[in-house]
């Protein structure tokens, strides 16, 4: 078997094992409470009957391992269980919300990725001069403010004061025309873009600067190419692999950003569903959302590694 296939198979297998272990971790996370989960869900004033009912419903009378296995079995067959509070099938409630969330994350990525690479190139071209310094200043500011506040700042100025965009995403309808949908999510997309932009830009800058120290860049400079040509023709192609890696890692980070941003803009996605269910202590929904977020995150990281393996021959020959 060619080495590259073997490496890829290993990485995919690792991803699957990780996902399996994470499912155990998430399940364990909901039973680590030393006391009684039913008690903590219903509060101190709950009647003994209500407690007994909830325990039976959660299957708390069975051993933890058995509960985990039956939960995992359902998960593998696509059965996410039923929500405690609404009694509805979780899979049904999630599918629409998941596609809404992916829609939001997709458009944020479409805007953020090219912008980050362009600004990263700009920072390298004018390094140590004002465009570079301005970009790193904005970067420092944006990693110093939590995501949800960036969202509210944009909402306040561009949604309310200037009135350019819808302040919240309540106008979002999944079955509306594409343009209307985009119009209603303009601000959440802008916020998510700002959230991931800074890190992506910095790493792009670092990746290109790293290549810029090579001898062939000096050759290119000495033969009289101008700065931009050196970067675009010689540095960029060799920096593609680390950049793609950074992009994937940041898209994975979008998964976290999306949870908070959906709450800020009242967007009907997975993140809001998760947060609502946590405050309602709807454990089955929390577990289901948790494992889906984890799967997306692990998947993105896996793709990042696969891209590195494919694009960098040096990684294929471990010493």
């Amino acid at each position: 078997m060619p080495l590259i296939i073997k490496l890829l198979a290993q990485r995919i297998a690792l991803g699957l094992i990780l996902l399996f272990l994470v499912s155990g971790l998430i399940f364990a996370g909901t039973i680590i409470l030393p006391g009684d989960v039913a008690q903590s869900i219903l509060g101190q004033s709950a009647t003994p009957e209500a407690l007994a009912n909830l325990r039976a419903e959660l299957g708390l009378n069975e051993p933890a391992l058995q509960r985990y296995l039956s939960w995992l079995g359902g998960l593998v067959q696509g059965d996410l269980g039923t929500a405690l509070t609404s009694g509805r099938d979780i899979g049904e409630s999630i599918s629409q919300r998941l596609s809404n969330t992916l829609f939001l994350a997709f458009w944020a990525a479409i805007v953020a990725v090219p912008l980050a690479i362009f600004l990263g190139l700009l920072a390298v071209r004018f390094r140590e001069r004002w465009p570079d310094k301005a970009i790193s200043g904005v970067t420092l500011a944006s990693i110093s403010i939590p995501e949800f506040l960036i969202g509210y700042v944009l909402m306040f100025f561009f949604g309310v004061k200037l009135g350019w965009f819808y302040p919240t995403a309540t106008a979002f309808r999944p079955d509306a025309a594409l343009f209307d949908k985009l119009e209603s999510i303009a601000l959440p997309v802008a916020t998510l873009t700002l959230v991931v932009l800074a890190h992506m830009m910095r790493m792009t800058r670092a990746a290109i600067l790293n290549v810029m120290q090579s001898a062939y860049i000096e050759t290119a400079e000495l033969k009289g190419l101008n700065g931009l040509q050196v970067i675009v023709r010689h540095a960029l192609p060799n920096a593609i692999a680390p950049i793609v890696n950074v992009v994937m890692l940041n898209l994975a980070y979008l998964v976290v950003g999306v949870v908070v941003i959906e709450v800020v803009f009242v967007y009907p996605g997975m993140g809001q569903y998760l947060v609502d269910s946590v405050s309602k202590r709807d454990v089955p929904v929390v577990q289901a959302c948790g494992i889906i977020f984890a799967a997306v995150y692990i998947g993105m990281n896996m793709i990042a590694d696969i891209v590195s393996i494919l694009s960098n021959p040096r990684l294929r020959h471990p010493k």
Binding site: G29, P146, F148, V153, V255, V260, L274
Partner: protein, 271 residues
């Protein structure tokens, strides 16, 4: 010792925030839960310097008390994260073998999901109290400290003086606390600043989601949540914590940068 201007500014503001947190009851003009006005979202005035919030509490007082809660919780979580993470990280490096494997693989597993998602999962069954918050945030974050301390300790572990200590028969505890810790301190201190900021952002985010510090207790994330409704009416009260968090974060970053630069230049440029 000369302190560069940026670091001095950072130190000054960091100290200011911590002092304000400690002396909040003396500084705040009103109580944090005291309803002082019948109106809601009064604009700033001589009586209420930052105006009032949605139910007529003084915003300046809530910001000061909020800073106290946020900074205390973040500090406690950072201390927990550092003690757990660094001791286990040093242990993994010194003990090696299966101890190292076990700890490192478990940390890999914990870090394979975003800490916010895992915190939400755990908080769905835990009662949301201050000790629980500190525990969840500190332990989840200790994974990062573990990785750093292990990496630093692996480098120190091969030094002659550690070998000498081993040969004269010192125990693992001695090697961790008397040989590794003093030499690993500077990179850890720089990292501590960054972890502290991360904790401030983390606890603010949890409170904003309604899963952190519970009302009527004030904290910066909670102030955003309470006043978020005002945004659509053009009332900027919810944006106030943005300024506080950003200035604190930037100040601590400036200090951490300076500590990091100092330690790397002392060690002859080792990054």
């Amino acid at each position: 010792m000369r302190i560069p201007l940026a670091a001095a500014i950072g130190l000054f503001f960091t100290a200011l925030y911590f002092l304000a947190a400690i002396f909040a009851p003396l500084l705040a003009p009103y109580g944090y839960a005291e309803v002082v006005s019948t109106g809601y979202w009064d604009p700033p005035s001589a009586e209420f310097l930052l105006g009032t919030d949605g139910i007529g509490r003084d915003l300046l007082s809530r910001m000061i008390y909020g800073g106290r809660t946020t900074i205390f919780v973040a500090t406690a979580a950072t201390i927990l994260s550092f003690t757990t993470g660094s001791v286990l990280g040093f242990l993994a490096a010194v003990a090696g073998g299966w101890v190292d494997q076990l700890l490192s693989r478990f940390v890999d597993l914990l870090m394979s999901i975003p800490s916010l998602i895992f915190a939400l999962v755990v908080l769905s069954v835990m009662p949301v109290t201050l000790p629980v918050l500190v525990l969840v945030m500190g332990l989840l974050d200790s994974t990062r400290v573990f990785r750093l301390s292990r990496a630093v300790a692996v480098d120190i572990e091969v030094m002659d003086y550690v070998e000498a200590a081993r040969l004269r028969g010192e125990k693992t505890i001695w090697i961790i606390f008397r040989e590794i810790l003093p030499n690993a301190l500077s990179p850890l201190v720089a990292e501590m600043g960054l972890r502290f900021i991360f904790m401030v952002l983390f606890v603010s985010t949890l409170s904003f989601l309604g899963l952190g510090i519970q009302p009527p207790q004030a904290d910066w994330g909670g102030i955003v949540k309470e006043n978020a409704e005002g945004i659509v009416y053009g009332i900027p009260a919810a944006l106030m914590p943005a300024f506080a968090i950003a200035t604190l974060a930037i100040s601590v970053n400036l200090v951490a940068d300076w500590v990091l630069n100092r330690t790397t230049s002392l060690k002859g440029g080792r990054g």
